[in-house]
Amino acid sequence: MIPYPFTYHRAGSLAEAETILKASPEAKLLAGGQTLIAAMKMRLAQPSDLIDISGLKELSFIRAAGDAIVIGAGTRHFEVAISAEVNRLIPALAHLAESIGDPAVRHMGMLGGSLANNDPAADYPAAVLGLDATIRTQRRSIAADDFFTGMFSTALDEGEIVTEVSFPVSARAAYAKFPNPASRYAMAGVFVAKTKSGVRVAVTGAGPCVFRVPEMEAALAADFTPHAIAGIEINAADLNSDIHGSAEYRANLVGVMARRAVAAAQ
């Protein structure tokens, strides 16, 4: 499969990427390419220009900053998975990164690309929402609760570039994912965390966009055990139904994954 023609630019700096992005309205950023290139090959996307930001050192870092870990948007999935810092401070996040796709995908794919894409079955959105992380762009900071606005859509404006994400450290956090046996994308993935702002439960894969489950959060705030959420039913009406599983199946799966995540976070 061959994409429509485009002009490739290798950005030397974030500022240069911004300038090219401004100059060509049909241009797109290229991070790891693991989603965008597939879409271009199927001719579902037709950017005039690709601005490759994958080589930018300023976007590729993992650093502990007080009670948070800040990860650059250009950090590849495998780097998060093997980071000593992430494994020490938020092991659930390293484990989540390790569960994305396969080794070759993890060698290319990047945090910023995954978030900007906001695939309904992507893993990172669950960690960002579950940990109450903050997404930073070259212009502003966006709270996780405001970032994911719908299926494949985010709060990012035209020309806005994700630069880094700040994940508050949480010792009691875990991610449980039931992967689609073929693609490894989540059929349902639940990220559970005790955060400063309370217990958070974020679900990916099951609905059109990552979402929180307030009933589970309230129950877990009172009693952080799998038992506490055993009776909570998820409404199937808003969930995805496809050849891989019905909405009712996914609703049940969310409960099972949530209990597994809470058990793992003990």
């Binding site: 490739y8 290229l30 693991q34 080794p103 070759a104």
Partner: protein
Amino acid sequence: MAAVSLTVNAKPVSLETEDRTLLVYFLREQLGLTGTHIGCDTGQCGACVVHVDGRAVKSCTMFAVQAAGSDVVTIEGLARDGKLHPVQEAFRENHGLQCGFCTPGMIMTAVDMIRRIPVLDRATIRAELEGNICRCTGYHNIVSSIEDAARRMDAESKGVAA
């Protein structure tokens, strides 16, 4: 259209190619390195796996221009002085292939995992093969081949041979 300069199997290469040329087509059609296969062409099967700067990637999901300045190794680059790489040897001796279509990608993935992971058990090997699909073997002998190769390379002091 621009000249892309990179190293392929330890040789410097500089060729004009369209910006939209995928690395796999660049290797197969412009360099004649047809050992790298195209199975699915959608990033799922791993038949196209090559190493870019020492890491396994799917060459059907990367543009050749992205690899400019990089060091690319394909299945053709593994053997040294007419002697097969230990992973290739192990696949041959353990019957790790049938039709052979998936084999180049399997071997490139195997070399990468052996390099990265100090102790490989069968469950880890299977998990690491997530992105490589084989329609023939049922994977059993592929896993055995990689297990055997890891042992051989350990013996030959792992990491140096690749």
